[in-house]
């Protein structure tokens, strides 16, 4: 099994006819993801991805016609919050928003609507998720994965690829890899993903990749200490050398005063039983020494 996505995923891509949307949809399809519909207002009735996928004007129509059960959003920042609301209104419960650069005040009411609808939003400003051998949603290169039983959750994009590649090279496959996004307000936090992994019988070890800013790593650590005591778990935190008060690329990666430092996160994770790596390339060996035999 996997979490969030899998063979049962029937994906609608919002913004499928855009440059990014089309490029990544083709890659998702090539990986084996079942893309059942595309959505671009005004292009209903056309087809996308070399004629293989019908395009609809609205998400509701796409869901009604194709039975889509998850969405991936490649809509520019100005329209992305609305795209999430449309997916929620169409009754979708799993929504990935890849879009970067959405003003934070736009996301606050949107994540509330998602919560009230009992849906799950991953992102925004995230690379998506891959369940190796089953499906990938988003922009993570499919080639870095290997099927297996390690759950990976990260706030980053390319840093995740780095860590996953290192694991794959070391023969450690993954159950699901999820990038939750680098913005200050995101739909799904580390804690939410850890809870999902705990319920997944095929996930037997965990990799958490965090970075400076906020307190989501600390909050996840407190929960993990109690509920994930018996599972091998490793972590890496980026930004040990980041200066205070500067946004390090990600809108959410900022140390404010003494809050959000790498040291605080490393301390919290270690106290919760995570083995914290000094470099992402050390994660596979560390996972072995944490007792993972997979």
């Amino acid at each position: 099994m996997s979490i969030l996505i899998g063979r049962e995923t029937r994906l609608v891509v919002q913004g499928i006819t855009g440059r990014e949307g089309e490029f990544h949809s083709l890659a998702m399809q090539a990986y084996g993801t079942n893309i059942v519909a595309g959505m671009t207002p005004g292009k209903g009735g056309q087809t996308a991805l070399e004629g293989t996928v019908p395009v609809f004007d609205t998400v509701a129509e796409a869901v009604a016609q194709t039975g889509a059960n998850a969405s991936c959003i490649f809509v520019p920042a100005g329209g992305a919050p609305d795209a999430v609301l449309e997916a929620v209104a169409a009754g979708l419960k799993t929504i990935f928003c890849i879009t970067e650069g959405i003003p934070v005040l736009d996301m606050i009411p949107v994540v509330e609507e998602v919560r009230l609808a009992g849906a799950r939003l991953i992102g925004p400003n995230c690379p998506g998720a891959t369940s190796p051998g089953r499906a990938k949603v988003g922009i993570i290169p499919g080639s870095i994965h290997r099927e297996g039983r390690v759950g990976v959750v990260s706030r980053s994009g390319t840093l995740t690829y780095e860590a996953v590649q290192a694991m794959t090279d070391a023969g450690l496959g993954q159950s699901t890899c999820i990038g939750i996004g680098g913005d200050p307000v995101i739909g799904t936090q580390f804690l939410d993903v850890l809870q999902l992994f705990r319920e997944d019988p095929e996930t037997e070890a965990l990799v958490l990749i965090g970075e400076i800013g906020g307190a989501a790593e600390e909050e996840a650590a407190v929960w993990a200490a109690e509920h994930l005591a018996d599972i091998p778990k490793v972590a890496f935190i980026a930004g040990r050398t980041a200066p205070e008060g500067k946004r390090m690329g990600h809108a959410g990666a900022i140390i404010s005063g003494s809050a959000g430092t790498a040291a605080s996160k490393v301390t919290a994770l270690e106290a919760a039983g995570f083995h914290v790596a000094g470099s992402p390339t050390e994660l596979p060996a560390l996972l072995r020494s944490a007792g993972y035999r997979g």
């Binding site: 920042a77 650069g101 959405i102 003003p103 934070v104 005040l105 996301m107 606050i108 009411p109 994540v111 509330e112 609507e113 690379p127 922009i139 993570i140 290169p141 870095i144 990260s154 706030r155 980053s156 994009g157 390319t158 840093l159 995740t160 690829y161 780095e162 590649q165 680098g182 200050p184 307000v185 990749i209 970075e211 400076i212 906020g214 307190a215 989501a216 909050e219 890496f236 980026a238 930004g239 040990r240 050398t241 980041a242 200066p243 500067k246 946004r247 390090m248 690329g249 990600h250 809108a251 959410g252 990666a253 005063g257 003494s258 000094g278 470099s279 992402p280 390339t281």
Partner: protein, 394 residues
């Protein structure tokens, strides 16, 4: 993006908040003219003006950037002194001149993003005028928190509740109205933070010289959401270029995220998390990063060349580490950009390149033909860059 006090006050005033009058002066003569106006104001209870340096750093007062003056002559002198200052490396180009307030009581009130709850939150305290972090450490019970409803905002009852909890006494109505006004300012401007410290009860002369007390925003700090600047065309003019490195401006032009640091190893990376990690590994290998630089996703050779120029503009840079994990970004595009940039660069700085992922093989062939030093892993690349900066072999 942080903005100066005077600009923050303008944004507050535009939303109808009570802010005492002020003028901005760029010269001692302008400061004098402003002082004449406020010294002659019958409402001014202290008979003095305050002159405040407009720089984006904390501790202006301690650095001599905030002073009082009792006459136009003195105001001109004081303004001349402050305008000659450099505070924590930043030149003072403007001063704010206003009536010196007779402060009766100081409060603290701010609205900011609470990331854990994904909501906006007010922080208030009857212990204003000092840093709120200090109050949080020494007297946490003196701080009041109130979340803003993500769909309803701050209804009147919640604003009143907040005002009563903070303890504005007879000024509770004004306190509640100010709370609502701060939220309005935040939403109207896409701010991340609106902070008033102090929010003060001041005493002024009313008609016939009778004392009148009112609650006003004496200082103001606003941070704007960088992601929303495009929809507020006026905000770009509020950018304080002195508070930025000149390289920042150049970086924005090419869609690069660049932050200058103090070390000597220039870094060029795709992706923010990986860029931070690269810096961390340089440090771990015994070196010091000269910058954070994220070339973003899908960078083409011209963006790579611009990134290289930015790194080389820093005279401290003794070696460059390029670390690319190709996903959307194609390794061969980056390699071509590097080759082009090196052909144009005037300064010969050793470079260590690591490119993996999409089109890494093509990149490797290009780099080998151009005799670049390459590395297979991130840790190896960091070690080689540190050795190169020291002029030794890894």
């Amino acid at each position: 993006m942080k903005i100066q006090e005077a600009d923050a006050k303008s944004l507050l005033l535009a939303q109808g908040l009570p802010v005492p009058p002020w003028e901005v002066a760029r010269t001692p003569t302008q400061a004098r003219a402003a002082a004449v106006k406020f010294l002659g104001d019958p409402a001014n209870a202290t008979g003095k003006v305050v002159i405040k340096a407009q720089v984006l750093v904390g501790g202006r007062g301690k650095a001599g950037g905030v002073k009082l003056a009792a006459s136009a002559d003195e105001a001109e002198d004081v303004a001349a002194q402050i305008l000659a200052l450099e505070i924590k490396g930043l030149p003072v180009r403007r001063v704010l001149v206003g009536p010196a307030a007779e402060i009766v009581k100081e409060y603290y009130l701010s609205v900011l993003l609470d990331r854990s709850t994904k909501r906006l939150m007010f922080i208030g305290s009857a212990e204003g005028g000092v840093e709120i972090e200090q109050v949080a450490r020494e007297n946490p019970e003196a701080i009041v928190y109130e979340h803003v409803d993500p769909l309803l905002g701050l209804p009147d009852y919640a604003a009143r509740e907040l005002a009563f909890k903070i303890g504005f006494g007879p000024h509770w109505k004004a306190g509640a109205a100010i709370a609502k006004g701060l939220l309005k300012t935040m939403l109207a401007n896409d701010a991340d933070l609106v902070e008033i410290n102090p929010l003060a009860v001041i005493r002024e002369h009313g008609a016939q010289g009778t004392p009148v007390e009112r609650l006003v925003c004496l200082d103001a700090k606003i941070t704007l959401d960088d992601s929303a600047l495009a929809r507020h065309p006026g905000h770009e003019a509020l950018r304080d270029l002195d508070a930025e490195d000149p390289a920042d401006v150049e970086a924005r032009r090419f869609d690069l995220t660049f932050i200058k640091l103090d070390g000597d190893i220039g870094c060029m990376v795709n992706g923010a998390g990986l860029a931070m990690t690269t810096m961390d590994l340089v440090k771990r290998a015994g070196g010091e990063p000269a910058n954070f630089l994220d070339i973003g996703g899908g960078a083409k050779s011209d963006r790579v060349a611009a990134a290289m120029r930015l790194i080389l503009e820093d005279p401290n840079v003794k070696a460059i580490l390029v670390n690319i994990f190709g996903g959307i970004t194609r390794g061969d595009e980056v390699a071509r950009g590097l080759i082009e940039a090196r052909a144009q660069q005037e300064r010969d700085v050793p470079m260590v390149v690591r490119i993996v992922g999409t089109n890494a093989e093509e990149a490797g062939a290009l780099l080998e033909a151009a005799r670049f030093e390459t590395a297979a892993t991130l840790d190896e690349a960091a070690a080689k860059a540190v050795a190169a900066a020291r002029g030794t072999a890894a």
